[in-house]
């Protein structure tokens, strides 16, 4: 008999029907009696003192029920324990175009919009700075974006692991280069929306499109000066987050402040333009990278410098810049590394967490550099990677613990499936194949706010209807975590998934879970579900053992029955088992928790908290492209991706996540970029920002590699982010294979390719005849 009956099956997601039929409710679908419509007034200046705000004309407009400014919510906040520099409405100065100044709640959206135009704000513009390298040079304290952040440096980290000088001295081939990545944003289909309901008993219920309901509850308690227990946050269906909903977004606070002031329900939904300005996406990154290898291709030392354009507020910034440095490690064997990371403030919307948080741009640089080094060493890029693999279990130079490591298999599988050996360097001019690898954490081993409490707790209840209710704080945002939790509980209790109801992400009903970020939910809430279900099963087994007159240890639960392992015919149905257990103790309840083990929590150096994870996922990819050398137009035909997710609890959702990651990586690689002119976003719409449509998206073939992590639930690791980063350098490598130019600036646009080709032709012409043949096989 198969080991599992539910785990490992490609079950459709539990919320699929609601979503596909349109019956599912997202935050903006919610309507309650007496509901007002909120609108936020945004700054038209990138940097300015606020001299005066006069709301009297707006307040006088019929239909306006509340106008709020910074005076109504003076407390600063921020997602991290440090850097609390945000206020829902600014009082003294604005720091980016789109910064929040005031808000109104009115009986209709039209009235709310009219009211915004009646708020008089007097600004005194200040010099603004939009480039992080320039921002770091601003000497005049009057012009710093936050007066307590000299030269606009939000945070800097300087790490050295191993003997870097010695490492470079031993290197026989060293290559150094600067890389650039433009800014990208999540572009989730669902715009942010919040409905805040002022309850008759003076409590607040907030329905919001969030990945972090408990952090929202905490922040609202602080800003609204109400005890946490008087604020209930409920997460309805969320139409994608990708990190863009993983910190408190101004509209969430604005809706609550307005509701409290108006004593009425208030809903705010961002327009698509507001979503773009709310942002919190992946920052512009300048990366200087130097890597040394031996002639045999072993990495001896790495030196990396990262400057990130964080925008006007701190947000997750320090975490982003730490991920960039700390996750240089735990993918290859790197004996020595230096990292200098700078998070810089500019007069643009704050950046934050975005799928592959902090790792994607640096991984692009690193993998591109490996491609160069492989060529210099006369090695196949695949072979260079093979020579630098880790040997798990192991601890990296920066004290990350790797317990399972499917990267070698990922590499071999994509090499085989893609036809790599027959293609690399051998396709006709204009066609090429490239490869790269990436990895990611399965949840952060350290909570955002340091504590020794479990990261997640799950309750299970079973009562007379023999239905099983799982209470989980975990936030389903489309990644399928609700489904996975149901599968885990169903497997342990031996029941059909339909028997299980999941109550999720409602701070009043469900115990705390830290949220949907850093790919933690399957791993952590999954482990908590596993423990809770086992505890519940123990209660059932005790009751059944009495009935069957056997020991509970011989019992098994499967196919809606509980039976002694060696005497399957003597079974009690699940209902009978529940009835037997209820007789003794009434409704059954059980609990499970999860906290990552001590050994997984990393080192003690400054910044060591970011990067450690109980387990890492791995990905290897090949990309096959063609480039039109006359126009620079790039077409990505096929991406073969192998992802090591530990055990695939649900291959369907794993594939969905892997494809989604590759899709986002592809978008960033070739066409997505936020384009700024003096702090104004030039493409704040889906039409102009250009996330790829299905028409442009290449064929994605995903291969699941199962390395079975000892700590993961049933051996599972993350699947939602780790395959994003490899897509970008794999495409860059393929472009080089196709036409012989290396584009180390993202996105890889036709213009950049064409300019590089022209430059190459110029150089070839200025040299003599001996230009040689092109690595892609010559024209």
């Amino acid at each position: 008999m198969a080991e599992f009956s539910i785990i490992g099956k490609p079950l459709p997601m539990t919320d699929a029907r609601a979503k596909v039929t349109g019956l599912g409710k997202y935050a903006d679908d919610l309507v309650v009696p007496g509901m007002l419509f909120g609108k936020i007034l945004h700054s038209p200046y990138p940097h300015a003192h606020i001299r005066r705000i006069d709301t009297t004309r707006a307040e006088a407009l019929p239909g306006v029920k509340a106008v709020a400014t910074g005076r109504d919510a003076p407390h600063p906040y921020g997602i991290l324990p440090i850097g609390h520099d945000e206020r829902v409405f600014q009082t003294d100065k604005v720091r980016y175009i789109g910064d929040n100044v005031a808000a109104v709640a009115a009986t209709s959206l039209e009235v709310a919009e009219q009211a915004l135009a009646l708020i008089d704000v007097e600004y005194e513009p200040l010099p603004a700075v939009f480039d992080p390298l320039a921002a770091m040079q601003v000497e005049n304290p009057e012009h710093w974006i936050h007066s307590n952040k000299p030269r606009n440096i939000e945070k800097e980290y300087h790490h050295v692991f191993g003997d870097v000088e010695q490492g470079f001295a031993e290197a026989e081939i060293i290559h150094a280069e600067r890389f650039y990545a433009g800014e990208v944003t999540h572009a989730a289909m669902e715009p942010h929306a919040t409905l805040a309901v002022w309850e008759p008993d003076g409590r607040l219920t907030v329905y919001s499109s969030t990945q972090v309901p408990y952090y929202l509850q905490r922040t609202l308690s602080n800003v609204c000066e109400m005890p946490m227990s008087h604020i209930r946050v409920v997460k309805p269906l969320v139409g994608g987050g990708f990190g863009g909903k993983s910190e408190v977004i101004p509209l969430e606070v604005a809706a609550a402040v307005l509701a409290k002031k108006a004593r009425r329900p208030v809903k705010i939904t961002y327009t698509r333009e507001e979503v773009f300005y709310a942002h919190r996406g992946r920052p512009i990154s300048y990366m200087d990278l130097k890597v040394g290898i031996t002639r045999e291709g072993r990495i001896t030392a790495v030196e990396a410098r990262m400057v990130q354009d964080g925008g006007a507020y701190c947000g997750y910034g320090p975490v982003t810049v730490l991920y960039s440095g700390n996750l240089l490690h735990a993918i290859y064997d790197i004996p020595a590394a230096r990292y200098d990371g700078y998070r810089v403030l500019t007069n643009k919307p704050a950046c934050g967490a975005m799928r592959g948080h902090g790792t994607v741009n640096m991984r692009f640089a690193f993998e591109c550099l490996l491609d160069v080094l492989a060529e210099k060493a006369g090695l196949d890029p695949v072979e260079l990677r093979r020579r630098n693999l880790l040997r798990a279990p192991c601890i990296t130079a920066n004290q990350l613990r790797v317990t399972s490591y499917g990267l070698p298999e990922c590499i071999e599988r994509v090499v085989e499936r893609s036809g790599w050996t027959a293609k690399r360097g051998k396709l006709p001019f204009g066609r090429g194949i490239g490869m790269a690898c990436s990895h990611y954490v399965s949840g952060a081993a350290n909570p955002i706010i340091r504590s020794n409490m479990p990261h997640t707790t799950v309750h299970i209840k079973v009562d007379r209807d023999a239905g099983i209710t799982v209470y989980t704080g975990a936030s389903e945002i489309g990644q399928g975590s609700d489904t996975i939790q149901v599968q885990i509980v169903a497997e342990v209790l031996g029941v059909r998934p339909e028997r299980i109801r999941l109550v999720a992400a409602d701070t009043e009903l469900t115990p705390v879970d830290l949220g949907s970020y850093s790919s933690r939910v399957t791993f952590m809430a999954g482990n908590a579900c596993l423990e809770a279900a086992r505890n519940l099963r123990a209660q059932l087994f005790d009751a059944v053992a009495k009935k069957l007159d056997c020991g509970p240890e011989v019992l098994e639960a499967r196919d809606e029955r509980i039976f002694p392992r060696h005497d399957r015919e003597r079974a009690l149905s699940f209902e009978e088992a529940v009835a037997a257990a209820l007789e003794a103790q009434g409704a059954l309840v059980a609990k499970g928790t999860y906290a990552p083990p001590e050994e997984a929590r990393g080192g003690t150096f400054k910044g060591a908290g970011v990067g450690p994870s109980p387990a890492y996922s791995y990905s290897a990819q090949t990309a096959e492209v063609s480039v039109d050398p006359e126009t620079g137009q790039l077409t990505v035909h096929r991406i073969v991706v192998a992802h090591d997710c530990g055990r695939a609890l649900n291959p369907l959702t794993v594939e969905g996540q892997v494809e989604g990651s590759v899709y986002m990586g592809f978008g960033q690689a070739v066409q997505e970029e936020m384009i700024w002119r003096n702090g104004r976003l030039m493409n704040p719409s889906l039409l102009e920002y250009r996330i790829p449509t299905t028409l442009e998206t290449p064929l994605i073939e995903s291969i699941i590699v199962e390395s079975h992590d000892p700590e993961g639930p049933f051996g599972a690791k993350e699947a939602g982010e780790g395959s994003l980063a490899a897509t970008l350098p794999a495409i860059a490598s393929a472009v080089y294979d196709a036409v012989g130019v290396r584009i180390h600036s993202l996105p890889i646009t036709p213009e950049k390719i064409l300019a590089a080709l022209q430059e190459k032709r110029r150089q070839a012409a200025s040299q003599t005849r001996n230009s040689g043949t092109h690595p892609g096989g010559g024209s």
């Binding site: 333009e273 006359e630 889906l686 039409l687 102009e688």
Partner: protein, 293 residues
């Protein structure tokens, strides 16, 4: 996003539409397929007090042959142009161009009259109507007048239409034997609009000589234009791949002000104008040659 409030009229005849247009003057906007106007209104870049919807005027929706020319009603959709057997056989450049516009939804709603009247610098039809020496008919309360395509496009989003005029018809020639046409375009990936679009029409005479050639370019400059220097370099010469490539180098005259935006820089557009002019000419030549045979 919500457009500002407006008054709405849906006249059933051209006369009624003209009357309404006269009455409301500059406060009114005509609505055809709405694929340019409605986005502008939603973004509040346009906020007309009054919208006159031409959609019910079925008399403006036709494709027919008249006096050796093909007449197309202003409200004819891109899809209707694309699928017209008459155009496909007698003036294929227009269907070839329509095929490259946007996506299915855009082609099903957008109209030839709306596209020309809007004069978006990235729109496709302008290149084709220039290359075809099309005539554009405008009606007003005072009667109708006929404009040549070459005088119709004035500047970015500006045409020779006067206030109070409605574009009613586009007339294109029935192409003579030995003629090949092609439209080649570099798409802006998301919308499909032209970064560069080149429409070519080429008639071969005796001995493989280029008897007549016209090239219209869109996307490059604030308004679509005829690449006169390219045409001059080809006319009367024996067609060859080399000749086409040489001629295409003249696609962007010195005095053209190049567009530069999010999607492409001026230099890139200039380089692409040359590439796509050559490609359009090559296709047109191949088609002309296959018809000769």
């Amino acid at each position: 996003m919500i457009p500002a409030a407006f008054e709405y009229h849906a006249p059933k005849s051209l006369e009624e539409a003209l009357r309404l247009l006269n009455r409301h003057g500059s406060e009114a906007k005509l609505l055809a397929g709405g694929h340019s106007l409605l986005p502008l209104m939603k973004l509040r870049l346009a906020a007309p007090r009054c919208v006159i919807d031409l959609g019910r005027i079925h008399a403006l929706r036709y494709i027919r042959e008249e006096n050796g020319r093909i007449a197309i009603g202003a409200l004819t959709t891109h899809t209707e142009v694309l699928e017209s057997p008459l155009l496909r056989t007698k003036c294929p450049l227009l269907p070839q161009t329509a095929w490259e516009i946007g996506d299915v939804q855009v082609r099903n709603r957008g109209t030839i009259g709306g596209s020309l009247a809007h004069a978006d610098p990235a729109a496709d039809y302008p290149a084709a109507v220039l290359a075809l020496d099309a005539e554009i008919v405008a009606a007003s309360a005072d009667g109708t007048r006929t404009l040549r395509a070459a005088e119709f496009f004035v500047d970015m989003l500006t045409t020779a239409l006067l206030p109070g005029e409605i574009l009613t018809e586009v007339r294109v020639p029935v192409l003579p034997p030995g003629t090949g046409t092609a439209y080649r375009k570099l798409h802006q990936p998301a919308s499909g609009f032209a970064i560069v679009g080149a429409a070519a029409r080429l008639t071969l005479g005796s001995g493989g000589k280029v008897e007549r050639v016209a090239v219209g370019l869109t996307g490059v400059a604030p308004k679509a234009y005829r690449a006169a220097a390219v045409e001059k370099a080809l006319t009367g010469k024996k067609a060859s791949e080399k000749l086409l490539a040489e001629a295409a180098r003249h696609a962007v005259p010195q005095d053209v002000e190049l567009l530069s935006d999010l999607h492409a820089s001026a230099e890139y557009r200039k380089a692409m104008a040359v590439v796509f002019t050559r490609r359009a000419l090559e296709d047109a030549l191949a088609r002309a040659q296959s018809k000769k045979r």
